[in-house]
């Protein structure tokens, strides 16, 4: 264990009646780190976070924050944590300022400090204009800011954010992500997500949970390295002028693609007449062959419409990882 380990999760098992939600989850989080907890819905991310925040107790296994066991001194652990649960439950009938004041009082702030701190936090999350608003009347994004503000209020060592961007519109998502990034500079953060791109943007490290188990733990690049033995490339071409663009032509192209060296497989993924007649192919290759493909198209006289490497999506990673695990 590194001296810098702030959170240690070891061998967590959570059993609900007959269902096993967590089956031996272990990971560490280091100080100042932003850890992404990745996994599909129902994988056990939220359960892990609920145990971390001491809302639930593990059937077995241990969680400690800053060396304090969450099971034996939950109140002390809670004091070190800021928590934003999934879907941001807040007292809708309260006004932003009052709500933050309430949370601050519950966290034993001295009255004089509290107002100052609320002002700070409100500025930090960009809620200055809204302190007098009833929470019920705020947009989803601002609600999320209120949720972050309450989690931040006591300047906690650790922030635990459960799906902080879900249900937000793209602009809001960007804002919130930036905010979390900023916070990461002086907080240890665990956030859960099922969005790989988000994790890529924000997180230093990723723990992937699948069916109650940790299937991967590392930086995103490491992980991608592990799963990226094959390269997926999208290729879109305009049908050559004068040529028939029917099934035959597309199939011809496909077989010529397949004949290229280092192409492992290829398939026609999309074909359309509008706005211009075109076909899109998905290739798997043993290396990044975009250069060759460009030259190939030039040589063959195809007008290249699209040529890009396809990102690994979560599904893909899981597939690969679980295939790995099976293999």
């Amino acid at each position: 264990m590194s001296a810098n380990t702030v959170i240690r999760v070891s061998n967590l098992v959570k059993q609900y009646d007959t269902k096993t939600a967590l089956d031996g989850v272990s990971f560490d989080v280091h100080g100042g780190e932003i850890l992404g907890l990745l996994g599909p819905n129902g994988a056990g991310k939220s359960t892990t976070m609920k145990i971390l925040t001491t809302y639930l107790t593990a059937t077995s296994g241990e969680v400690s924050v800053d060396g304090i066991d969450a099971n034996s001194d939950p109140v002390k652990v809670r004091a070190m944590l800021g928590y934003l649960p999934e879907s941001t439950p807040l007292y809708a009938d309260m006004v932003v300022y009052d709500y933050l004041h309430y949370v601050g009082s519950m966290r034993n702030f001295a009255k004089a400090d509290l107002h100052k701190r609320i002002a700070e936090v409100v500025r930090m999350v960009g809620l200055q204009e809204y302190v007098g608003f009833q929470i019920a009347n705020l947009s989803k994004g601002y609600k999320q800011r209120v949720g972050l503000a309450q989690a931040l209020l006591h300047n906690p060592k650790v922030l635990i954010l459960d799906e902080p961007t879900s249900g937000l519109d793209p602009n809001q998502i960007v804002e919130i992500r930036n905010l979390i990034r900023e916070l990461g500079s002086n907080h240890t953060i665990i956030l859960s997500s099922h969005n790989l791109a988000e994790v890529r943007q924000i997180c230093d490290r990723v723990v992937i949970i699948h069916r109650g188990k940790v299937v991967a733990d590392g930086t995103l690049d490491e992980l991608e390295g592990r799963v990226a033995a094959t390269h997926r490339i999208l290729l879109g071409v305009q049908a050559p002028a004068g040529k028939e663009t029917g099934g035959q032509a597309a199939a011809d192209l496909l077989s010529s693609l397949k004949a290229l060296p280092s192409v492992l497989s290829a398939q026609l993924s999309h074909q359309s007449q509008a706005p211009v007649p075109h076909a899109t192919y998905e290739l798997e290759a043993s290396s990044d062959i975009r250069g060759e493909l460009f030259r190939w198209a030039e040589a063959k006289g195809h007008t290249l419409l699209e040529l890009r490497r396809k990102d690994l999506d979560l599904e893909g990673i899981f597939q690969s990882l679980t295939q790995d695990a099976q293999a």
């Binding site: 099971n71 939950p74 109140v75 034993n108 009833q134 300047n155 060592k157």
Partner: protein
């Protein structure tokens, strides 16, 4: 990273340490829950025996008064035996119909007794009678044997095949040294403390007095025991087993199966035994020298025992066959024996009663009621209305007269019965010793306080003088003054018999009392104006006759009545008024101290009761019907408060000093056949009394009769003159109808204020307790169940108050809510960081 974590310091987290065991572990949490339940159950169970309570009522209604605590600690070694039925019914019937729920009474009774035992510091021992101890029977049987008053439930219960009212007991006996008292029935929780403390005080007095009167008491007891032994023996020997004995005992002609015959035979067989046992009565009687002439009850006991003895002597004559008239006539002898033995039992009961009274009498103070001026005088008249011979003579003359004589005798009888019943129920049964003090006679020495209750005729000079001397002798004199006779919606004597009865006679006239004159020399000014009130009044219940379909119905309606003002101001320093909350006084006048008396610092002058500020005083004529009077009173200027009861204590000067002392008038003998009364003036005790010109005395004057109107021959049989009765005339029939109406009007008037009598009788008994120096009791009783009345409201006022009270709360709440909402809104709009 800045570890600025306000909540993390352990001192801020009191429950942090505990969390370990209570969290996450189902077993631990369950243990905590079960432990809490367990502790709660054990704690509650342990506390059932505790008696820690705070009595928040203003007068400590539910806490023992200091007087009670003192009574409990004054006696060393009192044993209280409580008899409480195991299974009490839900309700018991109350007199006058209706039921009283018993819920919680048992617990309250036990609590109260235990409070005494605890307060006494071990001097009072409390025992609960056990059910079905071998040989002593059920609790109810034990209670009956201990002279408690068992009661039955409202609902009959099916016992076997028949409906039965089960009998229950709840009461206690109190033993102290040689004396004994009984709390027969403890169902009136409000009076429980009063009753128990009274018993404790009585025990002490009785014990002390019994020490002094040991000898007469022992002699009385010997007489009683002898009488009892004789009765029991005769009962036993004369017992006839035959069940067919019922009813016509003496008429049966069946020879030797005749029960009377059998009884005679049975008694004859034991004649020596009977002669010996019953002979003891004579012995005991002749030995009872110390008893004779010492007290009323002692004399009663002796008189009854003597009669018993003469009957038993006669019985013996028959049994031994010596009786002249029964010789050779066995049938007559047998019948006589049966009659005599039942008479014997009757007289035994009399002896028993007299003995109980005698045993109970030591230390009891006697309160005198002056009689002879149409006062409230709760005794039967001593003389019959018509001497027997006169009645017979009158009847012979005229059958019509005979009827009238009979009817008048009946009225007189009714008056006597009512009065003696009132005396019995209100006073004697409640443990007061009351005595008639006849007009124009010296006041007997045994009287320790005198009550003059609303006389409606003038006191004679001699009676005035007697009262005066009683007062300066330092004994309390209590006057209730009724200066006006008011009749509201009474019956008027119908002009002839055929006419319908009507209830519309309304009149007010001065009563004939001269209390005003009697009081003046002592500086007490009894006013003649009636005091009335516009606000603080009680209701009068008026009966109306309604004719419906040829049938007359009585209906009753309540009216607030200005002539029944409620006293609202009380002097809190005087025991009588210390804890009163209200007292309604029908047709009161008022009584004030004279200017000199008020200035005289030697006198203590206490205005015990006063009417409210809204009261006023007026001399009739007045409109008497409630609605008219109400209007009239509202127009008058209030002059209150007026004093309705006044207490004066100090060195009174006799009103007769320097005057010639009045002579005792010659007593007219109405019935020549009666033996002349002993002239008590010749009594050596009386002669010892000499004129006293000054002395410290206590005088209490209440300017109303409290609604307790006297029923007397003088007031009912107005104008009755025996000499007139000799001759029949139409005049007499009319007079007779008047008498009849007077009697019924008395009932009507009592009925009109009957709802006030509870409180007012309580005040009266308080006055009696106070006058016999049982001031502690006054205080306890006053706090018992005192009613706190509301002001009389006009119809509209009640409605407004009700609507106001119903709406004020919700409106206040909603107004506060709106205000809060507004404030929040403006505060939120102004919120900045």
């Amino acid at each position: 990273m800045a570890p600025n974590i306000p909540g993390s310091s352990p001192s801020n987290l009191p429950a942090a340490g505990k969390a370990k065991s209570s969290r996450g572990n189902r077993a631990d949490a369950l243990v905590t829950l079960l432990a809490t339940i367990g502790i709660a159950v054990v704690l509650n169970a342990l506390l059932t025996q505790s008696n820690v309570r705070a009595d928040l009522t203003e007068q400590g209604i539910h806490t023992l008064s200091p007087a009670s605590v003192k009574a409990a600690t004054d006696l060393e070694g009192v044993t209280i035996t409580a008899y409480i039925s195991k299974k009490l019914p839900e309700t018991v019937p109350v007199p006058g119909g209706g039921k009283m729920a018993l819920k919680g009474i048992e617990r309250a009774f036990r609590d109260k007794l235990e409070e005494y035992a605890a307060a006494s510091g071990g001097k009072v021992k409390l025992i609960y009678a056990e059910d079905n101890n071998p040989g002593i029977g059920t609790i109810e049987e034990q209670a009956e044997a201990a002279k408690l008053e068992p009661f039955s439930s409202s609902e009959a219960q099916l016992a076997g095949s028949e409906l039965k009212f089960a009998r229950y007991a709840m009461g206690a006996t109190f033993h102290y040294q040689t004396v004994h008292e009984v709390l027969p029935k403890a169902l009136q929780l409000g009076f429980l403390e009063f009753e128990i403390t009274k018993i404790l005080l009585r025990l002490k007095e009785k014990h002390e007095a019994a020490q002094v009167q040991k000898e007469p008491l022992a002699q009385g007891k010997a007489v009683f025991e002898a009488v009892k032994a004789c009765t029991e023996l005769v009962q036993k020997k004369g017992k006839v087993e035959d069940a067919k004995d019922e009813g016509a005992a003496g008429l049966s002609l069946k020879g030797s199966t005749d029960p009377t015959q059998k009884r005679l035979e049975g008694l004859q067989a034991a004649k020596e035994d009977i002669a010996k046992t019953c002979g003891q009565v004579a012995t005991a009687l002749s030995a009872a020298t110390k008893l004779r002439g010492k007290s009323q009850f002692g004399d009663q006991l002796l008189t009854n025992a003597e009669q018993f003895k003469s009957i038993s002597d006669e019985l013996l004559q028959y049994i031994s066959g010596k009786a002249e008239e029964a010789k050779d006539k066995p049938k007559q002898a047998a019948m006589a024996v049966t009659q005599l033995s039942s008479m014997l039992e009757e007289f035994f009961r009399e002896v028993d009663r007299a003995h109980t009274n005698l045993a109970d009498s030591p230390g009891r103070k006697v309160v005198g009621f002056l009689c002879g001026h149409d006062e409230f005088c709760p005794f039967a008249e001593q003389e019959p209305l018509f001497p027997e011979q006169a009645a017979m003579m009158m009847g012979q003359n005229n059958p019509m007269m005979k009827q009238i004589v009979q009817a008048a005798t009946q009225i007189a009888q009714g008056i006597d019965d009512t009065n003696s019943r009132i005396g019995d129920n209100l006073f004697t049964r409640r443990g007061y010793s009351i005595r008639r003090v006849a007009a124009d006679e010296p006041i007997p020495a045994e009287i320790s306080a005198l009550i003059v209750y609303a006389p409606r005729r003038a006191l004679s000079e001699y009676t005035s003088y007697q009262l005066d001397q009683f007062l300066v002798a330092g004994k309390p004199v209590v006057l209730f003054a009724q200066e006006w006779d008011a009749a509201v919606m009474n019956m008027a004597p119908a002009e002839d018999l055929a006419q319908e009865m009507r209830l519309d006679y309304t009149n007010i006239a001065p009563s004939g009392s001269n209390l005003q004159d009697w009081l003046r020399p002592y500086g007490v000014d009894l006013k003649r104006e009636l005091t009335m009130d516009s606000k603080h009044v009680e209701n009068i219940k008026l009966m109306k006759l309604v004719n419906r379909g040829g049938l007359q119905f009585q209906t009753q309606q309540d009216f607030p009545y200005a002539l029944i003002p409620v006293a609202t101001k009380f002097d809190r320093s005087h025991p009588l008024s210390k804890s009163l909350e209200s007292l309604p006084l029908p047709y009161p006048t008022s009584v004030e101290p004279s200017a000199e008396l008020a200035k005289d610092s030697r006198f203590e002058v206490v205005k015990i009761l006063q009417s409210s500020e809204s009261s006023l005083k007026k001399t009739p004529p007045l409109p008497l019907l409630p609605p008219a009077l109400k209007e009239w009173v509202l127009k008058e200027q209030p002059t209150g408060p007026h004093t309705l009861a006044l207490y004066v204590r100090g060195p009174f000067k006799s009103a007769f000093s320097g005057k010639e002392l009045p002579k005792r008038p010659e007593k007219q003998q109405t019935d020549p056949s009666r033996p002349p009364e002993k002239v008590s003036a010749n009594d050596p005790e009386m002669q010892k009394r000499t004129f006293k010109s000054e002395g410290a005395g206590k005088l209490l004057v209440v300017a109303s009769n409290l609604g307790i109107e006297g029923l007397s021959r003088g007031a009912v049989l107005k104008g009755f003159d025996m000499s007139k009765m000799a001759q029949f005339s139409a005049e007499i029939i009319k007079e007779y109808q008047g008498w009849n109406a007077n009697f019924q009007n008395w009932q009507i008037r009592i009925g009109q204020v009957s709802h006030l009598l509870g409180d007012n009788l309580q005040f009266l008994t308080n006055v009696i307790d106070w006058s016999t120096s049982h001031e502690a009791l006054v205080e306890i009783r006053s706090k018992g169940d005192s009613r706190r009345p509301l002001q009389q409201l006009q119809d509209g006022e009640a409605k407004n108050l009700r609507i106001g009270a119903l709406l004020a709360g919700p409106l206040l709440l909603i107004a506060a809510g709106l205000l809060r909402w507004r404030l929040r809104k403006s505060r939120h709009a102004a919120l900045r960081v």
